[in-house]
Symmetry: D3
Amino acid sequence: MPRYDLSLPELRDYRPIVAEPDDFDEFWEDTLADARRFPDELRLTRVDSPLSQVEVYDMTFNGFAGQPVRAWFLVPAGTTGPLPAVVEYNGYGGGRGLPHENLAWVTAGYAYLFMDTRGQGSVWGSGGETPDPNGTGPSAPGFVTRGIERPHDYYYRRLFTDAARAIDAVRTLDRVDPTRVAVCGGSQGGGIALAAAGLSEGLIGVMPEVPFLCHFERAIEITDGDPYQEIVRYLSVHRDLVDQTFTTLSYFDGVNFAKRATAPALFSVALMDPVCPPSTVFAALNHYAGEADIEVYPFNQHEGGSGHHWLRQAAWLEERIL
Amino acid sequence: MPRYDLSLPELRDYRPIVAEPDDFDEFWEDTLADARRFPDELRLTRVDSPLSQVEVYDMTFNGFAGQPVRAWFLVPAGTTGPLPAVVEYNGYGGGRGLPHENLAWVTAGYAYLFMDTRGQGSVWGSGGETPDPNGTGPSAPGFVTRGIERPHDYYYRRLFTDAARAIDAVRTLDRVDPTRVAVCGGSQGGGIALAAAGLSEGLIGVMPEVPFLCHFERAIEITDGDPYQEIVRYLSVHRDLVDQTFTTLSYFDGVNFAKRATAPALFSVALMDPVCPPSTVFAALNHYAGEADIEVYPFNQHEGGSGHHWLRQAAWLEERIL
Amino acid sequence: MPRYDLSLPELRDYRPIVAEPDDFDEFWEDTLADARRFPDELRLTRVDSPLSQVEVYDMTFNGFAGQPVRAWFLVPAGTTGPLPAVVEYNGYGGGRGLPHENLAWVTAGYAYLFMDTRGQGSVWGSGGETPDPNGTGPSAPGFVTRGIERPHDYYYRRLFTDAARAIDAVRTLDRVDPTRVAVCGGSQGGGIALAAAGLSEGLIGVMPEVPFLCHFERAIEITDGDPYQEIVRYLSVHRDLVDQTFTTLSYFDGVNFAKRATAPALFSVALMDPVCPPSTVFAALNHYAGEADIEVYPFNQHEGGSGHHWLRQAAWLEERIL
Amino acid sequence: MPRYDLSLPELRDYRPIVAEPDDFDEFWEDTLADARRFPDELRLTRVDSPLSQVEVYDMTFNGFAGQPVRAWFLVPAGTTGPLPAVVEYNGYGGGRGLPHENLAWVTAGYAYLFMDTRGQGSVWGSGGETPDPNGTGPSAPGFVTRGIERPHDYYYRRLFTDAARAIDAVRTLDRVDPTRVAVCGGSQGGGIALAAAGLSEGLIGVMPEVPFLCHFERAIEITDGDPYQEIVRYLSVHRDLVDQTFTTLSYFDGVNFAKRATAPALFSVALMDPVCPPSTVFAALNHYAGEADIEVYPFNQHEGGSGHHWLRQAAWLEERIL
Amino acid sequence: MPRYDLSLPELRDYRPIVAEPDDFDEFWEDTLADARRFPDELRLTRVDSPLSQVEVYDMTFNGFAGQPVRAWFLVPAGTTGPLPAVVEYNGYGGGRGLPHENLAWVTAGYAYLFMDTRGQGSVWGSGGETPDPNGTGPSAPGFVTRGIERPHDYYYRRLFTDAARAIDAVRTLDRVDPTRVAVCGGSQGGGIALAAAGLSEGLIGVMPEVPFLCHFERAIEITDGDPYQEIVRYLSVHRDLVDQTFTTLSYFDGVNFAKRATAPALFSVALMDPVCPPSTVFAALNHYAGEADIEVYPFNQHEGGSGHHWLRQAAWLEERIL
Amino acid sequence: MPRYDLSLPELRDYRPIVAEPDDFDEFWEDTLADARRFPDELRLTRVDSPLSQVEVYDMTFNGFAGQPVRAWFLVPAGTTGPLPAVVEYNGYGGGRGLPHENLAWVTAGYAYLFMDTRGQGSVWGSGGETPDPNGTGPSAPGFVTRGIERPHDYYYRRLFTDAARAIDAVRTLDRVDPTRVAVCGGSQGGGIALAAAGLSEGLIGVMPEVPFLCHFERAIEITDGDPYQEIVRYLSVHRDLVDQTFTTLSYFDGVNFAKRATAPALFSVALMDPVCPPSTVFAALNHYAGEADIEVYPFNQHEGGSGHHWLRQAAWLEERIL
């Protein structure tokens, strides 16, 4: 059935109780403090590129545990002063790819950082270059169960920290106005953007599209699509680790980051999305602590609003940077 | 089996005999002459867009039978003089979409025209806006069998003419250097680019990626993927129209356009491509009348080289425009 | 889940509000009046056939805009006087095929007309021969989105008019008793039969089997099967045309024809039908203006009652023609 | 790959060695002799039917071991003298269904017998009514492995005997000219027709369409479709019964019946048929002892020529009955 | 959707009314009485096996109608006196396979009988050796519809009788303590175990895992998986046999056996089981006449608790045999 | 097509050239030397288990880089002296599971070690407990591409070392006769067994069933199944790392281990195996340096000989331990 979740009126009111560990804030404060012990220093290397209208930089910054994380940083050629900036995180399985693959924001006049996703970048697209140097306990293929035995070891602890550190890093650049930084991303990128919004101060905008990584307990019961099903497969084998697994996930649930995020937000959701169920997106939206709006795509699956939604985002963000 | 076609060494030597009607040239000369009776005039409307670094125009030109065909035309903001231009055609089922979705060539400094595909643009992407005002005999869903009863009525007669007329049109523009126009496209777009190369004079480059619409008789016997299978489904019903159908297709076979194309060409092919079998691509390459090179992607399916291949194209084309 | 729609008791009571345009009647009156400006004349050509017990005629009548529409017309050999007649419309993708493929009604003693479906007849079966000489805006593969931008241009405006004109035509024949004409069809054919019932006067019976083209807004939300999903795919691309699309469809909804149909009707429905959801069939039944009965097949999918249901229909119709 | 078997020229020459047991003829002579110990007597019950142009009889005759087998027997209403007759066998999983479902031959003026298939008739269509009162050793779902441990117990020993006895029975009827009886059938029905042709004398025509049950050893290695795969699944479990299984099958291979059949034959084959591989059909054709022709459908799957092929058969048979 | 049935709290309370024929007890008393007219005698043949730590016997006992049924009987080598025994029945399509494939119970110190399943054993695993010498009316592939026209002829009448007779037989053995016999099995084996529990006296434990064959009317409406769908396919053809079919099934519904079973029971259920819907398992549990517990596996499909559940069973049974 | 690889006669002769790095031996000598710097010490903990006929031990030994690796170690209860031992490795995605799940070898009188697979054990079965504490560069889901950028970092360097160290460890145990140790495993376990055979001295038997990880370059071109396709997906993204990837794999190819293995071997292969193509198994067999035999299962897929093959192995091994 295309429509398998709540109806739109029900979704607008859906504000479920989502488990939150007592030490959620402490956990993340400690994690970020550890990461921030490493300097904000970064390396920017100008890349020779056919893109004559844009300056392209290969960037490396200090992510989780100071581990090097790659990104592309682009600014419009011929500009000099600080610009408002957009930081984007990628969907599941993708890496930073190639600089010419994401040109809309820089062509719209923004400084633009597209962060690589550690360990990913080998499933689709043009690749990634950031390793994930941390091991894992028994895990199912995919990244969602890597280190899921303990919040401390969970893969997304490292990735969300990278995301927060990417914001720190971009703010140190001459070409960026540190007071006007927004974050965005679709699917996993949307989940990361939500986490970054909960972990960072002073963002001017947060734009999660059809975000993944929200309201896990419901998600894994109502969709049979990956990557949420990676958790189901893991639990189908580790029948005795159900509680422990949900405890880990509670430290990473987009809903809990939403409760702490105060920057203005523009979400999107697709009502026929078999990957990120609508109710899990609304759960994050309806718990969002700041001002938040959502664009609803009633007949789309996980592609959501795609190019149409970027126009909506560009208009929305333009109002915020003035 | 991932590798289901000839081996790479066999492919490099594969130069099959492909049926060619005696009046192929006459058919196309008449067709283009009819179309060119309509003026080259076009409408360019500057579009209000968030893309501050680019001038975006909504363009309408006279295509087949003078019917209006839409396109996006982009030039880098701040440029004035004539630029080398790239004309791109789209894959099967897609339309011109939105201007910010194809920014690589303009960011590389080219004038860029992305042509809408008549009647298409409703299967994926962000839509199209060009109708196909011509009817059809009994046809299978899809566009490959529309009007296939007679070469005169076949859908691709109209679309290939649009493609040739797009080149005519872009050459009339102030911002374009008419002696430095290249064409490109992937899949159906690659097939259209080949046709345009066979029908137009003086192109500086032709870049068909994993082209569709080549060597039909072999294609429909060795792939079970759409859209080639649309022809098989049609023939499975119209058991008595096999010869007539192949006669129609012979007027539209990329191999026959390749035999007439003299502009330098850069092809791509993917050896695990289930949609456009490698041997059908090499059939066109090995019959190509001009200088032609090919980039082989041994472990890719129909996505071919994607972003990596664009870098290859950009370097290749840069050498040709100097 | 096999049973994915309402329960049978709920279905029996299901009488949803379905949007109806104010000018629905005017739209169809104008459409039919335009078509009826062309004469009722038709061509009947006796076909040489192995079917010695039946007279087979290849018929051409004036359909929408006077365009020629083909049909097979059969009467039992050896009969002379006027007979009660059955007019049948075909399912999606099929054409009129070959005369020996539908012999039950004529063998039961009826004059029988099997109408070709314009543009269709190339997906399954033995083919069709009626073109659809009208073009289309951007449309998804299939027929359901052809011309969907405007009620005036929509494919089913032409096809439903053909269907009403087929009744007009058959009534002009010597071998047919014009006061005893019934219509039938399965799936798309059932939807056409409903439309014909709403547009024609004086039918003695209407027999829609598992009808398609009813209660679109619900249908496209609860089934993931084609052809209803063609609309979803169209809307997933044309995100800005949702309202316009539903407006067009409201002129063609079987429920709105049912509200106007007064001839006795025998419906069928299959409770595990993934193509035409049971609730959309009951929506038409429960709004039907005339006397209407339904046969429920609890464990069937879209094949419904098939041969068993024909026996039911034959008995039901026999009572009406006496 | 649509074309997965030999090329058409290779098929035309394909005449493989197929294992044949020394006592093949003895086995079948004994089997038929046993069956013929039961009288040819049969029961014919006129059925009340809406089919006023046809006399419909529910027939029961003595099949294998004298077990009762059902059939429909139809003659054109109003005829009296003996007519040429067609006996048809059904495809896998189907039963005799309902009398109005197969009207082409009777409408063409033949007496027509459609035999029920023992134990089958519960997978598609309108049902069957003939039990298979014999048990089985361990068998895979389906009928192809029932009793496959021994030729004596194999399901098709019973079914092929029923088929031969149906010919015996129809020849006893007043309304049938016993010198002008033809057999036909598609898929399993084609395999049964071949067997009947090898087991019966004096047929005027044999028309196997895309026949199943030929050249088993090749078939199960080159198609992954059912029902041939039922044998593969059986052998994948009974790893030690490979030789024994092929021994059993050699008594039932259509190729071995073809070697003994002398009545004129018209085969059909579809070159993209994934169910009955073309080479297995040509194996039977090229071993056929009598005059044999074949119609090739190059772009069809298992549906083969369908209605088009019936026209071909009707013309071919008409020549033979004159 | 992974969770497609009732919620866990609803399941715990789910106690539906399930049809029960008036003569249910009589039917089974007669059936067993008939079977018990044949002696309890059995044949035990010591098998030469690499399993030096176990005595392996090939056993044949008198099942339904005294027909020979095979089994493996294992006891730990070096033991002599009577042991508590476990009798296990197999899942759908499997046979008794090979003795070394089921060693857990004997390694835990039990005498162990693994019963072959008549006619099955050819779909997966290592085979079976027990024929089903009874014929069938028209049936769908699979075993669930064999003889379903009449309770008397239904396949499971024979199989359930075999199961009860296996208990009788094992109790006659020196090496078995007849007062300490338990039964178990998964899926079909669980359904058989339930039947055996309803038909036998004095069992010390009943352990149905994710049992099949319970609450048919609901099962076939909410799962689209085999084997329940075999019934749906049968009814989709035999549209007129719905009531008769459900009448037959009511004599074999696990719920009706549960109402009569008094031995302590340990069930298991998997909440994402697409084969045996959770509500059908709870229907049997909640009607169980004796003391009954259930282990719930929330994220498993039909594999249920597998090895983890065996540990649970072993502990549970150990308490009962002391 | 079920048979998609070479014919059996061709397979028996298939001895392809497989790339082998010059420093293959040095690479593995260094790797093992590093691992052997950690002591052979291991921990054995008697586990409380229902398996009264077997002593069950939870074992931890020092694997790659001295990292702790888990295993189950079982000996028949009541034995005391040193026994011949079998070491088994598991298939892809599985872990050591639970001790009662693999009882055949111990019941046949062997000491038995079942090694956990680092990082795996979360896809099927009852779980694993050994982490893989090493990170990875960008990798596709699954284990085959973890660390594939460099032979040094490749996942299978660690796993194969664990396998060799498991043999070292088991030989230190009192209950094991170190001169009579055999290794076995299916699929990935077969590939590991081959590697262990190439890396260890003095084994009495090597039993790879349908081994994975052999002749990679061919495997990934002719099967479209996982896990070989994980490499294809990786290369489809990392288009520039093809040579580097094959270089890494050449250090881990089962063919190169086979060239060095001298212990007697019994392989198995299934001719319809879509996961591990027959030719890749024969490539290893035909390069095997020691005496080697193979059992061919002509109609099986990846399940190969399963229980039947264990009987073959048990008989084969029994001859070797005398």
